[in-house]
């Protein structure tokens, strides 16, 4: 295999699990990148991609559980993962802080995902290569 200089990547996912292939393809990419010695400095969920951070997704037992698989990968490699706050709130992805702010009945963000602003994405653009995984629609 050709020698590829090691890179730092930010992974952006805009496609939802179970309606697009984006989260699965992104996870395959992230696993391969880490295995090859590259760094993933953060994962950013945007648009429909925020659904990966839901703690309430239940799949039939014989189907892959993409939110859990993503969580396990992130925890194992200690990669921070952020869901865009504007995208998340519109789609009912809520952390305890937003639950209090909007006086909601529950919160549902799966650890280790966090909610933050687009500034995280802007910052990523200044220091790493960003790779996008879209729904393909």
């Amino acid at each position: 295999m050709a020698d590829i200089s090691l890179q730092t990547y930010t992974v952006v996912i805009t496609g939802a699990p179970y309606s697009s292939q984006a989260p699965q393809t992104a996870l395959d990419f992230a696993r391969a990148a880490v295995a090859a010695g590259h760094q993933i400095d953060r994962v950013f969920l945007y648009g429909d991609g925020v659904h990966i951070a839901s703690a309430l997704i239940c799949t039939p037992s014989d189907e892959p559980h993409w939110p859990r698989l993503w969580s396990e990968f992130l925890a194992e490699h200690q990669i921070p993962a952020v869901a865009c706050v504007a995208s998340a709130l519109r789609r009912g992805l809520i952390d305890s802080g937003e639950q209090q702010r909007y006086e909601l009945s529950a919160h549902n963000i799966r650890a280790p995902f966090e909610i933050a602003g687009l500034g995280e994405w802007v910052e990523a653009g200044t220091c790493s290569k960003i790779i996008y995984f879209h729904s393909g629609a």
């Binding site: 945007y46 648009g47 995208s87 500034g119 802007v122 653009g125 200044t126 960003i130 629609a137």
Partner: protein, 116 residues
């Protein structure tokens, strides 16, 4: 160092364009140079006289009016796509530069990002 955000989906039927616009506004808010390109069905964002009240949505053309204030450097539209969607020059909102999104144009940008 300019980032080009590309909107290629028609407005109102999909939220991806609005989220692309948010990306552009965020870059600008953090003093990162950025511009917007509308191509394909995305050129319909630029049509004058949009009346989205019946949909309960805000006019995307009006949202775009804030682009210059936020510091988005330019609004570009694919001239051929405008023609295909029947957008004559006088049916396009002010401040849009018509271009051909060829290699020479695209290589002028350090990064190119699609909204979704």
């Amino acid at each position: 160092m300019t980032t080009l955000i590309v909107i290629d989906q028609a407005p109102y039927g999909s939220w991806s364009g609005r989220e692309g616009l948010d990306m552009a506004f965020s870059l600008a808010a953090f003093d990162q140079s950025c511009a917007l390109l509308f191509n394909g069905a995305g050129v319909n964002w630029l049509r004058t006289g949009q009346q989205p009240d019946g949909l309960g949505q805000k006019s995307v053309a009006q949202n775009l009016g804030a682009a210059a204030i936020f510091g988005v450097e330019a609004l570009y539209a694919d001239a051929q796509a405008c023609q295909r969607y029947g957008l004559a020059d006088d049916a396009i909102i002010a401040g849009v530069t018509l271009i051909a999104p060829d290699q020479a144009f695209m290589t002028g940008f350090e990064k190119v990002t699609f909204a979704g």
